[in-house]
């Protein structure tokens, strides 16, 4: 905590000198728009109560196609559209709301601006698309180390340590 305060007060310290990841804003959009609510933090998506969100790790979509999918959603699926006015003032896949009819995708909980959509697409391309199984390093870079959410990847990669807080019957 003290270090963090010092870093805020003295922005010239080494704390702030690491090169920022240019896709960090896109990671912020990925969290804020709750992409992780269906695709999970690692983008693998998968089954479950929400049906089957597609794997962004296995996607073959180009940057432009990802941008279009985020803006317009995927008709006939649960993937929502994130662009204000999509299917109304702005046609999507050459369709308005009437044309889409029963395949009209749901409206997202938040709308994203063009720059946000581009940033999240860049984040997906750089950090998710084409990647194999999620790793501990990747998880920590997403969540930082404040949550135990990444422990499971650490355990998979390393011999189990004697962590005191794992559940064991006493």
């Amino acid at each position: 905590m003290v270090g963090a305060i010092a870093a805020l007060l003295y922005p010239g310290t080494a704390y702030c000198q690491s090169t920022p990841d240019p896709t960090d804003p896109g990671k912020g959009v990925f969290k804020r728009a709750n992409c992780m609510g269906c695709h999970k933090w690692h983008g693998h998506g998968g089954g479950g109560y929400g049906g089957d969100a597609l794997s962004l790790r296995k996607t073959e979509l180009t940057r432009e196609q990802i941008i279009e999918t985020v803006r317009c959603g995927r008709p006939g699926t649960g993937m929502p559209f994130f662009e204000r006015g999509a299917y109304d003032s702005i046609k999507c896949y050459d369709m308005n709301r009437q044309d889409a009819g029963g395949t009209m995708p749901p409206e997202a909980n938040v709308f994203l601006r063009t720059k946000d959509v581009e940033e999240v697409a860049d984040y997906v391309i750089m950090h998710i698309k084409g990647k194999a199984e999620p790793s501990f390093a990747e998880c920590i870079s997403f969540f930082s180390e404040t949550s135990r959410v990444c422990d499971v990847y650490k355990k998979a990669e390393q011999p189990p340590s004697s962590a005191p807080d794992t559940a064991k019957p006493q």
Binding site: N34, M36, G37, K40, Y49, G51, G78, R148, A167, P169
Partner: protein, 594 residues
Amino acid sequence: MTRFKGRSAIVRAGMLAVGFATAAYMADRSPAYADDVTPERLLNADKEAGNWLHHHKNFSATRFSSLNEINGGNVKNLKVAWTMHLGGVEGGGIWSHGGLEGTPIVENGFMYVTDGWGSVYKIDTHGGHGDLLWKMDPKTDHDWAGAVACCGVDNRGVALWGNLVISHTLDGRLIATNKDTGQVAWQRTVADPNKGEVITGAPLIVKDMAITGVAGAEYGIRGWIAATDLKTQKEVWRTFTIPGKDEAGSETWKDDKNAAASGGGSTWVTGTYDPTTNTLLWGVGNPGPDWDNAYRPGDNLYTDSSLALDADTGKIKWHYQHTPNDPYDYDSVAENVMVDVQGTNGPQKLALEADRNGFAYAIDRTTGRFVWGLPFVKKVTWTKGIDPESGKPLEYDSKKQVQTYNTEVTPSREHKVADICPGNMGGKNWPPTAYNPELKLWYIPVIESCNRVTVEEATQDKIKPREFFTGGGPSQPFKITGSVTAIDVTTGKIAGKAELPFPNLGGILATPDLVFSGQPSGEVIAFDGKSLQKLWEFNTGGGVNAPPMSFSVDGKQYIAILVGLGGAWDKWFIDSTPELKKMQPGSTLYVFSL
């Protein structure tokens, strides 16, 4: 713990760190207000008419309050007495927000409620208003637990023992909090989110033990029920709901893939206790993977079963399975309500269970033998009915390894897209029933539903820690409604049905001549206990996702209910009730009186 002084709610600077809580001493409330909650008081909970000491009101889970100041003659005058905004609405993991599913506990005018992330609030209800005395925030690890909570950021409430408030957290802890100070006395890890285990149910206190159930059958867990000795804080027993190799029942897992090890069988609804036989009754949830039953040939005991266990040892006394080799996600986690009635052939000691598969079951709770059963939903398609002798689905064939029931509508590897009624949320989900022992009527909070299941073939390589292992998923092409359905327990027949526009996601309270329930569209409703005619309604403006309860203080009766839509519905099932998309997240306690 943060402690507040009287109505001014001044927080004194927190100085005493308890690791996860900030404590501050205030001397304004004497511990003399509190009485220790003894096992004897818990056994005789119904003798304390103004209190609500157990999650389900009593060990039998009748959720019947004998208070009758509020009755059919005057309920039309019921008004909001006070409200209190609570917290815990923030998201975490795959969830954008939390919700409220808890039942308030009230002892001698002091109320204890939880929010979805497991914070406990103690509220003084004396004097016709609510006064927050302390809040214990367990600092639940949101992302860790929220990422493996299949069905929402939920906590269904606390229990009382001695001078401690006993609660669970989503991230797997059992916590004991000093009732007077709000300081955490101790905590113990019971479930492990790294294995996909979380806890949403309220603890059940039996003697000096806290009984804990687990959730996580969508993540490849092997379910269990565990008892913790509250005096020593050690585990007394842990009974797995899926038998180990060579144990009785293991022969019902006939695969060669060790499917039992990830076979599900969660226990996330608080059970009941029969002190005359020292028997716990506890419901067990779906097998995993949920929808690919060809992955796990055999009956898959003890999934989808009611289990009777010796309370001291956890040893299984009997089981009754409702949906063998379940391909629908028809959990039997529901509470088993203990009811004694005079049947046609003499006195009956029944366990009543309203199953997700759409049938209500009465089981002889001494032997585990089927007594009667009937559909309580308007539409059942997965089976043509149940056998009047055994209660098993008519199409059940014990020689078959993979059950297909009504093949035309049953999801399978051959029939990958199937529409089922009830839908996979079931005819009744976790929201509790209530039983009026005077009218002999049992009230079920019903989801009148169908939905679509798409099967995806499960393979062993899909089992990964903290990842869904469901063998497919549901979608919602059909509109879903709800009802309160009453069953006459002396005849085993439906006595009435009050249809509701939305599914019943909150549960029921019964009083001598009334029934209270809520709607996810905001209404709290009072019905006539016999006719189920609506007598009173108030719109809270927030989605009702929790059961109503009743208590008295200063000689006056109140009805209390938590309001704030959470749970699975607004993420996974909202397309079946598009009108509910407008409901906003919230976290408020409503208290009503005349």
